[in-house]
Protein backbone atom coordinates (compact mmCIF):
# COMPACT_ATOMS: atom_id res chain seq x y z
CA UNK A 1 0.00 0.00 0.00
CA UNK A 2 1.29 3.45 -0.85
CA UNK A 3 1.86 5.75 2.05
CA UNK A 4 3.20 9.20 2.75
CA UNK A 5 3.94 8.39 6.36
CA UNK A 6 7.41 8.91 7.69
CA UNK A 7 7.46 5.62 9.62
CA UNK A 8 6.13 2.18 8.73
CA UNK A 9 6.28 1.20 12.38
CA UNK A 10 6.85 2.84 15.72
CA UNK A 11 7.59 0.50 18.60
CA UNK A 12 6.61 1.95 21.97
CA UNK A 13 8.27 0.80 25.19
CA UNK A 14 6.34 1.39 28.41
CA UNK A 15 7.71 -1.18 30.85
CA UNK A 16 10.79 -0.90 33.09
CA UNK A 17 13.75 -3.22 32.46
CA UNK A 18 14.11 -6.66 34.07
CA UNK A 19 10.38 -7.23 34.54
CA UNK A 20 9.35 -9.53 31.70
CA UNK A 21 10.20 -10.46 28.12
CA UNK A 22 8.17 -7.53 26.80
CA UNK A 23 11.02 -5.17 25.93
CA UNK A 24 13.04 -7.94 24.31
CA UNK A 25 10.06 -8.95 22.18
CA UNK A 26 9.56 -5.34 21.15
CA UNK A 27 13.22 -4.98 20.20
CA UNK A 28 13.13 -8.28 18.28
CA UNK A 29 10.26 -6.91 16.26
CA UNK A 30 11.97 -3.56 15.64
CA UNK A 31 15.11 -5.31 14.36
CA UNK A 32 13.20 -7.66 12.06
CA UNK A 33 11.10 -4.76 10.82
CA UNK A 34 14.22 -2.86 9.89
CA UNK A 35 15.79 -5.81 8.09
CA UNK A 36 12.64 -5.86 5.91
CA UNK A 37 13.57 -2.30 4.95
CA UNK A 38 10.63 -0.86 6.83
CA UNK A 39 11.17 2.56 8.36
CA UNK A 40 11.28 1.91 12.07
CA UNK A 41 11.35 4.23 15.06
CA UNK A 42 11.29 3.67 18.81
CA UNK A 43 9.48 5.61 21.51
CA UNK A 44 10.26 5.26 25.21
CA UNK A 45 7.41 6.36 27.47
CA UNK A 46 7.07 6.54 31.25
CA UNK A 47 8.91 3.74 33.06
CA UNK A 48 10.00 2.48 29.64
CA UNK A 49 12.67 5.21 29.62
CA UNK A 50 14.47 3.26 32.37
CA UNK A 51 15.35 0.69 29.67
CA UNK A 52 17.89 3.26 28.46
CA UNK A 53 19.77 3.64 31.74
CA UNK A 54 23.44 2.79 31.61
CA UNK A 55 25.32 0.34 33.82
CA UNK A 56 22.47 -2.07 34.41
CA UNK A 57 23.53 -5.41 35.90
CA UNK A 58 20.83 -7.87 34.86
CA UNK A 59 23.11 -10.83 35.56
CA UNK A 60 22.68 -10.25 39.31
CA UNK A 61 19.06 -11.33 38.80
CA UNK A 62 20.05 -14.12 36.42
CA UNK A 63 18.45 -12.12 33.61
CA UNK A 64 19.78 -11.25 30.20
CA UNK A 65 18.75 -7.61 29.86
CA UNK A 66 18.38 -5.67 26.65
CA UNK A 67 21.51 -3.51 26.67
CA UNK A 68 23.30 -5.45 23.95
CA UNK A 69 20.25 -5.36 21.70
CA UNK A 70 19.81 -1.62 22.27
CA UNK A 71 23.43 -1.03 21.34
CA UNK A 72 22.96 -3.09 18.17
CA UNK A 73 20.15 -0.83 16.91
CA UNK A 74 22.57 1.39 15.00
CA UNK A 75 23.79 -1.63 13.02
CA UNK A 76 20.21 -2.12 11.85
CA UNK A 77 19.92 1.55 10.82
CA UNK A 78 17.50 2.32 13.62
CA UNK A 79 18.47 5.80 14.77
CA UNK A 80 15.08 7.43 15.24
CA UNK A 81 14.71 7.08 19.00
CA UNK A 82 12.35 9.30 20.94
CA UNK A 83 12.07 9.72 24.69
CA UNK A 84 9.27 11.33 26.66
CA UNK A 85 10.51 14.56 28.23
CA UNK A 86 8.23 14.28 31.26
CA UNK A 87 9.47 10.74 32.00
CA UNK A 88 13.10 11.93 32.09
CA UNK A 89 12.10 14.57 34.63
CA UNK A 90 10.04 12.11 36.67
CA UNK A 91 12.93 9.67 36.95
CA UNK A 92 15.66 12.31 37.30
CA UNK A 93 17.41 11.25 34.11
CA UNK A 94 19.41 13.33 31.67
CA UNK A 95 19.28 12.51 27.96
CA UNK A 96 23.07 12.81 27.81
CA UNK A 97 23.44 10.01 30.38
CA UNK A 98 21.35 7.49 28.45
CA UNK A 99 22.75 4.47 26.65
CA UNK A 100 21.73 5.77 23.22
CA UNK A 101 21.51 9.11 21.46
CA UNK A 102 17.87 10.08 21.67
CA UNK A 103 15.56 12.91 20.73
CA UNK A 104 13.70 14.28 23.74
CA UNK A 105 10.06 14.99 22.89
CA UNK A 106 7.20 16.69 24.67
CA UNK A 107 3.72 15.21 24.43
CA UNK A 108 2.78 17.24 21.38
CA UNK A 109 5.88 16.16 19.49
CA UNK A 110 5.28 12.53 20.38
CA UNK A 111 1.73 12.83 19.07
CA UNK A 112 3.14 14.13 15.78
CA UNK A 113 5.53 11.17 15.52
CA UNK A 114 2.75 8.70 16.22
CA UNK A 115 0.48 10.38 13.70
CA UNK A 116 3.26 10.03 11.11
CA UNK A 117 3.48 6.24 11.43
CA UNK A 118 1.45 3.62 9.57
CA UNK A 119 1.63 1.23 12.48
CA UNK A 120 2.18 1.39 16.21
CA UNK A 121 2.93 -1.52 18.53
CA UNK A 122 3.20 -1.07 22.29
CA UNK A 123 5.24 -3.26 24.60
Amino acid sequence: MKTNNFFDLLVVFTQPPLTASLAKEGLDLALVNSTFEQRTGLIFLGAGTLQLQQNQQPDILALKGTQAMLQALALYDIDQIFVEEQALQDYGLLAADLLLTVEVCNTEKLQQKIAASRNLLTF
Binding site: M1, D8, L9, S21, L22, E25, D28, L29, V32, N33, F36, Q38, R118, N119, L121, T122
Partner: protein, 133 residues
Protein backbone atom coordinates in the same frame (compact mmCIF):
# COMPACT_ATOMS: atom_id res chain seq x y z
CA UNK B 1 -18.20 0.17 1.32
CA UNK B 2 -14.67 -0.72 0.26
CA UNK B 3 -13.09 -3.97 1.26
CA UNK B 4 -10.16 -3.67 3.66
CA UNK B 5 -7.50 -6.19 4.59
CA UNK B 6 -6.62 -6.71 8.23
CA UNK B 7 -3.79 -8.35 10.10
CA UNK B 8 -4.62 -9.38 13.66
CA UNK B 9 -1.77 -9.40 16.16
CA UNK B 10 -2.86 -11.33 19.26
CA UNK B 11 -0.54 -10.88 22.23
CA UNK B 12 -2.79 -11.67 25.22
CA UNK B 13 -3.16 -15.21 26.57
CA UNK B 14 -6.47 -17.10 26.39
CA UNK B 15 -8.44 -17.20 29.66
CA UNK B 16 -5.96 -14.82 31.38
CA UNK B 17 -7.01 -12.04 29.01
CA UNK B 18 -9.86 -11.34 26.64
CA UNK B 19 -7.49 -10.91 23.68
CA UNK B 20 -8.13 -14.14 21.71
CA UNK B 21 -11.90 -13.93 22.26
CA UNK B 22 -12.11 -10.25 21.30
CA UNK B 23 -9.99 -10.95 18.23
CA UNK B 24 -12.22 -13.90 17.28
CA UNK B 25 -15.32 -11.72 17.51
CA UNK B 26 -13.59 -8.96 15.54
CA UNK B 27 -12.53 -11.43 12.84
CA UNK B 28 -16.05 -12.84 12.51
CA UNK B 29 -17.56 -9.35 12.26
CA UNK B 30 -14.98 -8.21 9.72
CA UNK B 31 -15.46 -11.29 7.53
CA UNK B 32 -19.22 -10.98 7.75
CA UNK B 33 -18.92 -7.37 6.58
CA UNK B 34 -16.95 -8.53 3.54
CA UNK B 35 -13.45 -7.57 4.70
CA UNK B 36 -10.37 -9.77 4.46
CA UNK B 37 -8.29 -11.14 7.30
CA UNK B 38 -4.93 -11.47 5.63
CA UNK B 39 -3.12 -13.08 8.54
CA UNK B 40 -3.53 -13.81 12.22
CA UNK B 41 -0.29 -13.57 14.16
CA UNK B 42 0.16 -14.84 17.73
CA UNK B 43 2.93 -13.17 19.69
CA UNK B 44 4.04 -12.87 23.34
CA UNK B 45 1.53 -14.62 25.67
CA UNK B 46 -0.86 -14.96 22.74
CA UNK B 47 1.09 -17.99 21.49
CA UNK B 48 -0.40 -20.18 24.25
CA UNK B 49 -3.67 -20.27 22.31
CA UNK B 50 -1.94 -22.72 19.95
CA UNK B 51 -1.63 -25.36 22.72
CA UNK B 52 -3.47 -28.47 21.54
CA UNK B 53 -3.58 -29.82 25.09
CA UNK B 54 -5.81 -27.09 26.54
CA UNK B 55 -8.96 -28.65 27.98
CA UNK B 56 -11.30 -25.98 29.29
CA UNK B 57 -14.50 -27.23 31.01
CA UNK B 58 -17.10 -28.42 28.50
CA UNK B 59 -19.54 -25.64 29.31
CA UNK B 60 -16.90 -22.99 28.53
CA UNK B 61 -15.73 -21.76 25.16
CA UNK B 62 -12.71 -23.62 23.74
CA UNK B 63 -10.84 -20.74 22.14
CA UNK B 64 -8.28 -22.92 20.36
CA UNK B 65 -11.04 -24.93 18.66
CA UNK B 66 -13.05 -21.80 17.82
CA UNK B 67 -10.04 -20.29 16.06
CA UNK B 68 -9.35 -23.55 14.22
CA UNK B 69 -12.95 -23.63 13.06
CA UNK B 70 -12.93 -20.04 11.81
CA UNK B 71 -9.58 -20.53 10.10
CA UNK B 72 -10.79 -23.66 8.31
CA UNK B 73 -14.00 -21.96 7.15
CA UNK B 74 -12.21 -18.91 5.76
CA UNK B 75 -8.73 -20.28 4.93
CA UNK B 76 -7.08 -18.00 7.48
CA UNK B 77 -3.37 -18.18 8.19
CA UNK B 78 -2.81 -18.81 11.91
CA UNK B 79 0.84 -17.93 12.38
CA UNK B 80 2.66 -18.25 15.69
CA UNK B 81 5.96 -16.56 16.56
CA UNK B 82 8.42 -19.43 16.89
CA UNK B 83 10.71 -17.78 19.45
CA UNK B 84 7.83 -16.69 21.69
CA UNK B 85 6.22 -20.13 21.35
CA UNK B 86 9.29 -22.23 22.16
CA UNK B 87 9.96 -20.08 25.21
CA UNK B 88 6.47 -20.85 26.50
CA UNK B 89 6.35 -24.56 25.72
CA UNK B 90 4.41 -24.46 22.45
CA UNK B 91 6.29 -26.69 20.04
CA UNK B 92 5.72 -28.55 16.79
CA UNK B 93 7.11 -31.95 15.73
CA UNK B 94 10.05 -30.46 13.86
CA UNK B 95 11.22 -28.27 16.72
CA UNK B 96 10.65 -31.10 19.22
CA UNK B 97 13.01 -33.27 17.19
CA UNK B 98 15.56 -30.46 17.05
CA UNK B 99 15.48 -30.00 20.84
CA UNK B 100 15.38 -33.74 21.58
CA UNK B 101 11.93 -33.56 23.19
CA UNK B 102 9.50 -36.49 23.22
CA UNK B 103 6.33 -34.46 22.88
CA UNK B 104 4.89 -31.71 20.77
CA UNK B 105 1.67 -29.76 21.25
CA UNK B 106 1.14 -27.26 18.43
CA UNK B 107 -2.54 -27.45 17.54
CA UNK B 108 -3.57 -28.32 13.98
CA UNK B 109 -4.06 -25.34 11.71
CA UNK B 110 -1.37 -23.27 13.46
CA UNK B 111 2.14 -22.82 12.05
CA UNK B 112 5.32 -21.67 13.78
CA UNK B 113 6.88 -18.80 11.84
CA UNK B 114 9.27 -15.91 12.30
CA UNK B 115 8.47 -12.32 13.15
CA UNK B 116 8.94 -11.57 9.46
CA UNK B 117 5.39 -12.82 8.92
CA UNK B 118 4.05 -10.08 11.18
CA UNK B 119 6.25 -7.46 9.54
CA UNK B 120 5.22 -8.60 6.06
CA UNK B 121 1.59 -8.59 7.13
CA UNK B 122 1.79 -5.09 8.60
CA UNK B 123 3.49 -3.79 5.47
CA UNK B 124 0.76 -5.11 3.19
CA UNK B 125 -2.47 -4.89 5.16
CA UNK B 126 -4.65 -1.81 5.29
CA UNK B 127 -4.64 -2.06 9.06
CA UNK B 128 -3.03 -4.12 11.79
CA UNK B 129 -5.05 -4.51 14.96
CA UNK B 130 -3.41 -5.68 18.19
CA UNK B 131 -5.33 -7.55 20.88
CA UNK B 132 -3.32 -7.49 24.11
CA UNK B 133 -3.86 -8.42 27.72
Amino acid sequence: MTTKTFVLNITGAPYASSAPLSALRFAKAALEAGHKIQRVFFYQEGVTLANDLSCPPQDEINLTKEWQKLAAEHQLELTVCVAAALKRGIIDAKEAARYGLEHHNLAEGFVLTGLGQLVDGMANADRTVTFNS
